[in-house]
Assembly symmetry: C2
Homo-oligomer: 245 residues x 2
Amino acid sequence: MAEESSGSNRKVEVCFSPALFPVYFQDKNCVVVVIDVFRATSAICSAIDNGVKSILPVATVEEATIYKEKGFIVGAERQAEVVEGFDFGNSPITFKSGKYKGEEIVLTTTNGTKAIDLAKEAYKVVIGSFANLDAVCNYIEQEDKDVILFCAGWKDRFNLEDTLFAGAVVEKLVENLRFSNLADSALASLNLYNTAKNDLYGFLNESSHRKRLSRLNLEEDIIYCLTLNQSNNVPILKDGKIVKS
Amino acid sequence: MAEESSGSNRKVEVCFSPALFPVYFQDKNCVVVVIDVFRATSAICSAIDNGVKSILPVATVEEATIYKEKGFIVGAERQAEVVEGFDFGNSPITFKSGKYKGEEIVLTTTNGTKAIDLAKEAYKVVIGSFANLDAVCNYIEQEDKDVILFCAGWKDRFNLEDTLFAGAVVEKLVENLRFSNLADSALASLNLYNTAKNDLYGFLNESSHRKRLSRLNLEEDIIYCLTLNQSNNVPILKDGKIVKS
């Protein structure tokens, strides 16, 4: 009941860049939602949705190469493109055919896997994307912890699309009255989401990464990444691998 | 003429925290506007407006103490309060009586003077506040450089009031068509400012630092800090001291 839970003073903050994460991650006893809308966390959700058994995130191309040489299925993305010699990059469309069903794969991306690595010592690390927005919010609400919504950004810079997703999460958490302690970063994200939510696609027209992807003819990816609630799955980090919760 | 200047591709970015500054400050040949609305940069504008000759910003209370012992007039603020033994803190009201007219003063604050120190190697360092919004925008437009709007934040965290001021600057720069290269951080700040500008005071009601100042009975300061265009002066950093440009 709302009345019972309204006394909760759980804190929600948004961290806009990996370079800021140490500032917000003062207490490890929290839930961290890693957000890289374009496209790592959207791709991870798609992978889990399409039957991939686990994803081992690695921070560098060098580590990814070692796994590739050992015979693993390995995805690697840098500068929004597939790194030569790897099986795929960070497109969520890759997994739709079910080609990698049942497989244990390895993945490195420009921003997303770096963020996952920074957050790994948190009580729980959750993978968030518009594709599983409601599922992520329900998962967070059930854990009685403070929350950091961790935007992977672009090379340590603030980006719009990750902030909008953070705002969407804040909106849900506030609706359910379980969070009354909103940091300025959460208020700003919520405000931006309220402005953008009726036309995410249009709002992001001018954003830097949207332009970057459009130049690469990745419109199908963009549409996937901005379509809400395609999945009920919540990928989480467990023993260093991302699996279905 | 707008037609002549519309081809300009000067870049404007907003840096939301001192911890992010190295990410944005890749090229020193730029104008950095340091922003600490509550209250360091508002106080500096008030000081210059009320005849203070120069302000030497120092990063630590220890440095400030050395100047105090040498007989200088020294302000020091930590946790939004005057540090014991110093002449004043970071209230803009301090200077209104003209008591410090003609003086060379020293100042250390929790966030603002730290930001000034980080930016000191830029081509120009400008002190921005709502009190001198239009004057700062005019100054920036006359320099043909990229711009970093540098929010001092609160202990390396994002804050709303500095972001709103950054958005107000972006709005003016875009109106004048001299800047066509807006980073995501600038788009987000502009959007927030557009939502808030008709009632800055109300919009900031829930912000963390506004609450902090209200608890300390600093409403007069808050009103000063949120009143636009009280001054035509642009304080800049010159040979380590802040002076009128």
